[in-house]
Symmetry: C2
Subunit: 418 residues, 2 copies
Amino acid sequence: MRTFDGDETSSSADQLTLRRTNLGLVLRLLRDRGPRSRAKLAAELGMTRSAVSTLVGELEARGLVRIGDLERGAVGRPGTSVQLDGHAVAGLGAEVNVNHVSTMALDLTGEVVSEHKLALDAHAFTVEAVLDRLADLVRQTTADLTRRGIDPIGLTVGVAGLVDRERGWLTFGPNLDWQDVPVHELLRDRLGEAYPITVENEGNLAALAEATPGDRDRQDVLVLFGEVGVGGGIVAEGRPLRGRQGYAGEFGHMIVEPQGRRCGCGRVGCWETVVGLRALLDLAADPDDQVRDPAMAIDERLAELNRRASLGDTRTLDALAQVGGWLGLGAAMLANALNPAAIVLSGYFAAVGEHMRPAIESRLRDGVLAPDAGGTRVELSTLGFTAAVRGGAGLSLDRVFADPTSVERRPVAAGATR
Amino acid sequence: MRTFDGDETSSSADQLTLRRTNLGLVLRLLRDRGPRSRAKLAAELGMTRSAVSTLVGELEARGLVRIGDLERGAVGRPGTSVQLDGHAVAGLGAEVNVNHVSTMALDLTGEVVSEHKLALDAHAFTVEAVLDRLADLVRQTTADLTRRGIDPIGLTVGVAGLVDRERGWLTFGPNLDWQDVPVHELLRDRLGEAYPITVENEGNLAALAEATPGDRDRQDVLVLFGEVGVGGGIVAEGRPLRGRQGYAGEFGHMIVEPQGRRCGCGRVGCWETVVGLRALLDLAADPDDQVRDPAMAIDERLAELNRRASLGDTRTLDALAQVGGWLGLGAAMLANALNPAAIVLSGYFAAVGEHMRPAIESRLRDGVLAPDAGGTRVELSTLGFTAAVRGGAGLSLDRVFADPTSVERRPVAAGATR
DNA sequence: ACCCATTTGTCGTGGCGCAGCACAAACTAG
DNA sequence: CTAGTTTGTGCTGCGCCACGACAAATGGGT
């Protein structure tokens, strides 16, 4: 049984909607299961071959798919493979973080087309100045696209903080020390209206980057992102869980140790006081240790901790086990509440995660009521600090997969082969 | 922009799907916003009046709506009001709990058509015997419907424990002391295949009962259910959040006090050790107090506590404040993670909730990072122990709202007025 | 009492999109 | 080289909604 989704403001469906739906269905099938012939598409979608042919024809006219090689079967006429074509459009992602601003462009096939990053201490600049830099980066990215003849289809901006998506405001960003910033408006002023701009919470975008569309086993994902602060994002049934006001995913301030240490937010016993980067460094090293030297890059400090752990240094191992235990405790609470397929550790958690994993998994197994921890796996992110921009670019692309008619038909190039 | 929802196994959309969608759209609009004329429906859905007319005609032929009174406007021809008709179909809900089995039937308008309950100590019977009793109750309920000429459209069974929805099994039910029970199959054997039977987690159903379809402010709801054990359910964007294996909502075993008391599940410091009914009774009364007498009904014991609290008994008030504080702590953690519009207290929490509310709300405000607790309200459920069956019946009805063509056309009654 | 503006509901026509069917094209097996 | 199989593309038909026209039903003004 199928229905249109009825969550948006109710607006009826007509023939055009039907077309849009089926175009999107074909496009998503090609994304999720790879290139295949029109006949196979028809069989898998339960349509006739003729209907699929016209759909593929329209997608081709919009530059979204192209006809590829022949597909030989056992017997019979070979089919012509249809595959996603990344040369028409790309989705843009951008991020405003405390330490950097960055952008990424993904084409329809998920390939990175362009990537830019600028280290930047957000505290040292005004909001306007930071967004100026970000806009510069976005312009560089779109210039890369223009050079290749690719159209930017949308920009999704991830910011560290609480986002009001409807207005496109960052309402509360304690780490950036921003408050009530109309990010959407400020960026539109700088970048124009050539493509839609969406503002999202960084954690949600990172979580989306870890979820894989179409893969049933990667539709319910929880991302835990550790730096000095701890945040995250939730993807449930393939969709970001934002909550009523878009504030979901603020895991760092769950209170896990009521008699514990004071947190930067003013409360006592927040989860990030025991699993944040500072907690690990406090446990693993004396104040004069090099790994606590602010002048040293965080990556290098984490590498040094990994080196010590690999050499069997007990203090380091104990510290990692202790933080891992706390991490596992919180992970277990979230797993009891949400039963995700995977909890993905990102940020510094990923960097030293291999050594924390035993402690985390043991606490998770012990702490989750469902047998076998409800099937929740612990994974280390491989996306590093690009998770949010990647998720943003992916979210921008979703518009095309939901409605391929949002991409214009291209002029009929007479015998154009490339 | 609209699309078909693409989460189910991909299957393409045709004209019939289009019709189904628009029929459902009309039906849901009538449910969510009440009776209105065809012309108003057309304006709100962005369709033509003629299209709406045929849709309403078809819904009428299926007995789902009926033509009501005239609707006078300021000027012009008055419209005829179209409204949901509850006389054709009803959704069934059922529940297997430790202390009772129960059923409920809701008609399309949400009215209770039939309700049955049987007190029953599940531990004293075999699985088969308990389901025999439940099946009896369901048969009584459908008999009530048949007497009125109403068709049962589906049955949703809520069970206390972890449910594998695809197979319809209760995989793990510690409170019932059931394990790997093929509930779906056992009930189908007893009730036949006249209507589809679905098995769901009790907490999810209770949460669905608290959420209101169509109301934007009641689409993200968290239900906390307190008895001896503590459970709950999550509704996000109007849909139950079940997690990868359907185990989401097991809040009672989140570990909040690592050095605390041992829980019935074998772990230490589970939330239910500090907010479960036993914790409240331990704090509020000496062992020989009447409110701890197992012979006394729980409702009466709670009423006695409420009475003492209202009279200003400090020990009772302190106990409620302390449990309320722990309740608020857990609520804050969940609110940080999920940012619901409302946290609904159910079970015994609702019974004594008025006296715990100040403590809960204070902890919630303090413990949630988002300003003003992210807009999360604390509410007391008024549904009592019927929440799960009501949610189940509502979920059964959802099939009709999603696809009205699943209800058969009725024979054309020649001028049958009644 | 009558006319007019306004709104409602219905009917007929047209366009669009998919299903069903027929058919040519392209291949394998023997 | 033929038979059998599979693929992709026309063509026709049907269902559904948009659009426009029209009759029906009302209130307000004269």
